[in-house]
Structures are given as structure tokens and as C-alpha cells.
């Protein structure tokens, strides 16, 4: 006897932000409305170089289905992407290329570092491997694991979504942000 499949019937949709409500109108702050829209329509750019990339493929496929979180559409052009997902070992020779990809992305942009290698160099403590991508580009969320399971990658995406939703629309124009980028030698 095969197990009966349980379908989830109670579906949740994105909740509207806090605001003033009345017959025929709804008023909220622009930050919250934009945050809600951005959060649920991320366009990730996968920068997959090794086994974490394989886990990412599983994450995108039907079983785990990242599309459920609005990140259905992968952007293979950095100019249209919001989220740079770095998955795998980045060698020192690859470093400038990753940085170029990051610089080509338009603001606002976020970076998710998936796996031990991208986050710290992992087991590759050697002359040819970059010891963590945060040495060349700023990282928003780190996902630990070697490689992490698809659930962990999804968790990382949800953390990114939290950041996206709560980000002030002025952050990217602030002095602190420019200073932070300058500390990586960008612009």
C-alpha cells in the first residue's frame, strides 16, 4: 500500500504591511511597500563553482522549489540581478572575476555566501584559494555547511528576504554604505 499523499490546502500569501486602512484606500510607507515587493521577487544570480552549486540545483528543482519564495527567475546577467549567490570554492585567480560580477550588479544588491569554501576557504587552506569571499566583496548572509543541505540554502534566502524587507530606502545612499564599499576598494 502506498502512502497517501498529503496536500497542503491552507495557503499563505504575503501579508500586507502595517498601515492605515479604510473603505477604498490603504496607506503605508513607501519603504514597506517597496520592501514587500522586492522581498518576494528576488532575481538571484547563481555563481556556482563546485559542490554547493549542485545543492543549489536541487534547491531550485521541483522538490525544494525556491520558486515558492518568489525567487523563481534566475538572472544570468549581473545587470538584472538583485542577489548574488556565491556557491563553491573561489580561487584567487577567480577573485577579480567575482568582484567584477558584483560591480556590474545594479543597486540594491545583496550577497549570499553558501558553504564553507565561499565563507572562509573551507578545507582549502592553500596558496591558490581565496580564504573567504568577504575579502573582496561585502557579504550579507553566510550559510554554513560543506555542502549545506537545500533546507539550509532556503533558510539563507529567507534571511536575505528579511534584510530586503526591512531595508530603509535611504540605506544605499548613506555615507556609511559608501564607506563600507570603499573599505572593499569598490568605487
Amino acid at each position: 500500500m502506498s502512502k497517501e499523499i498529503q496536500h497542503r490546502t491552507k495557503l499563505e500569501i504575503a501579508k500586507s504591511p502595517e498601515g492605515l486602512e479604510g473603505p477604498g484606500f490603504f496607506a503605508t510607507s513607501l519603504d514597506q511597500a517597496v520592501g514587500l515587493a522586492r522581498k518576494n521577487s528576488l532575481w538571484p544570480l547563481p555563481f556556482a563553482t563546485s559542490c554547493c552549486g549542485i545543492e543549489f540545483m536541487a534547491t531550485m528543482a521541483s522538490h525544494y522549489d525556491l520558486g515558492r519564495f518568489g525567487a523563481e527567475r534566475l538572472s544570468f546577467s549581473p545587470r538584472q540581478a538583485d542577489l548574488l549567490m556565491v556557491m563553491g570554492t573561489i580561487s584567487k585567480k577567480m577573485g577579480p572575476i567575482l568582484r567584477q560580477v558584483y560591480e556590474q550588479m545594479a543597486e540594491p544588491r545583496w550577497v549570499l555566501s553558501v558553504g564553507a569554501c565561499a565563507s572562509s576557504g573551507g578545507i582549502f587552506d592553500t596558496y591558490s584559494v581565496l580564504q573567504g569571499i568577504d575579502r573582496i566583496i561585502p557579504v550579507d548572509v553566510y550559510v554554513p555547511g560543506c555542502p549545506p543541505r537545500p533546507e539550509q540554502i532556503i533558510d539563507g534566502i529567507l534571511k536575505i528576504q528579511e534584510l530586503v524587507q526591512n531595508e530603509s530606502s535611504r540605506r544605499r545612499n548613506s555615507e556609511e554604505y559608501t564607506k563600507m564599499l570603499n573599505s572593499y576598494g569598490i568605487e
Partner: protein, 167 residues
């Protein structure tokens, strides 16, 4: 032809032409190995390549080596005669202070990238090479990572220090 016959054949052919430049002849793990004078390496390989009897027309591999006393660098050549399935190995050594050897990329075109790799990792300069620059490592690298005097690990690593383990 057995391995021993091959070793004897080649050493006779080499000795008759390059007597005194063949420093050592031995069978290492069932493989004929000839250690030769660095100055004559181009001539010897050229002879092995073009002699119609020997006909070592294929360069299987070329790589570098450093002796454990850190005083000498070496280059190892693996040659192959495919019609007769003869394989031999040639070695040549040079002092660390003067790591230069003649290129063989004019004999085997395949040696071009192998010599670049050997230069990249051991810093052995191949005189006469058409384009001797790094091939695998980044161009900005300022040392030769396979040499024993340099550490294998990346010195920028922070998460392995004792304070991360409460020591």
C-alpha cells in the same frame, strides 16, 4: 623486449654518443631512469626524439622536483615510443641558486605549457621558451608555491589560530 633489455639498449645508445654526460642509469620501480647532465639535456632529448631506431616521439610528461636538502631543483621528462611501447624517464638536476635549463619546446610542442607550469610552481627558467610566464596561478603571485621554503597554507587564514579553539 623486457624492461632490462630496454634499459641496456638505451644506455648503450646514449653512452656511445654522450659518454660522460650520463650521470646515473638505474631501474626504479620497473622503470628505466637516466640522470643526465643539465647542459646536454637538449641534445640528448633531441637525439632520442629523432633517432629512427629509438623514435621517442611523444613527451608524456614534464615536471619539476626539489631535493629534500633544498639545494637542488630538478626536471623530470617522461618519453614514450608508441609503436614499440617503450617508456623511459630522464632526470636532470641544477643548483637552487641557478635554476636554468634549456627548453625542449622546439622538439615537442606539448612541452610549451608543461614548462610554463614547471616555471609557475618551481621557478625553473627554461632558456629559449617562447612565452615563459605563469599558467595556473595568478600573475600577481610573487613566489613559487611548490618549493619547500614557502608554506603550503595561505598565511591570511584566521579561523585556525589558537584563540578560535579557546587555547
Amino acid at each position: 623486449m623486457s624492461k632490462e633489455e630496454l634499459l641496456n639498449n638505451i644506455s648503450e645508445a646514449l653512452k656511445s654518443k654522450f659518454h660522460g654526460d650520463i650521470e646515473r642509469i638505474e631501474m626504479q620501480y620497473d622503470f628505466p631512469v637516466f640522470t643526465v647532465n643539465k647542459e646536454k639535456i637538449h641534445e640528448i632529448i633531441s637525439f632520442l626524439h629523432s633517432d629512427p631506431e629509438l623514435n621517442f616521439h611523444f613527451l608524456t610528461d614534464l615536471t619539476g622536483i626539489q631535493t629534500p636538502d633544498e639545494k637542488h631543483l630538478g626536471v623530470v621528462y617522461h618519453l614514450h615510443n608508441m609503436p614499440k611501447n617503450w617508456r623511459i624517464r630522464l632526470k636532470t638536476f641544477m643548483p637552487m641558486t641557478h635554476p636554468e635549463v634549456s627548453t625542449i619546446s622546439d622538439i615537442y610542442s606539448g612541452a610549451n605549457w608543461m614548462e610554463r607550469e614547471t616555471f609557475d610552481f618551481f621557478g625553473i627558467r627554461f632558456i629559449g621558451h617562447p612565452n615563459l610566464k605563469r599558467i595556473l596561478n595568478m600573475d600577481e603571485m610573487d613566489y613559487f608555491p611548490m618549493r619547500k621554503e614557502y608554506p603550503l597554507e595561505d598565511q591570511a587564514r584566521e579561523d585556525k589560530s589558537d584563540k578560535m579553539f579557546g587555547r
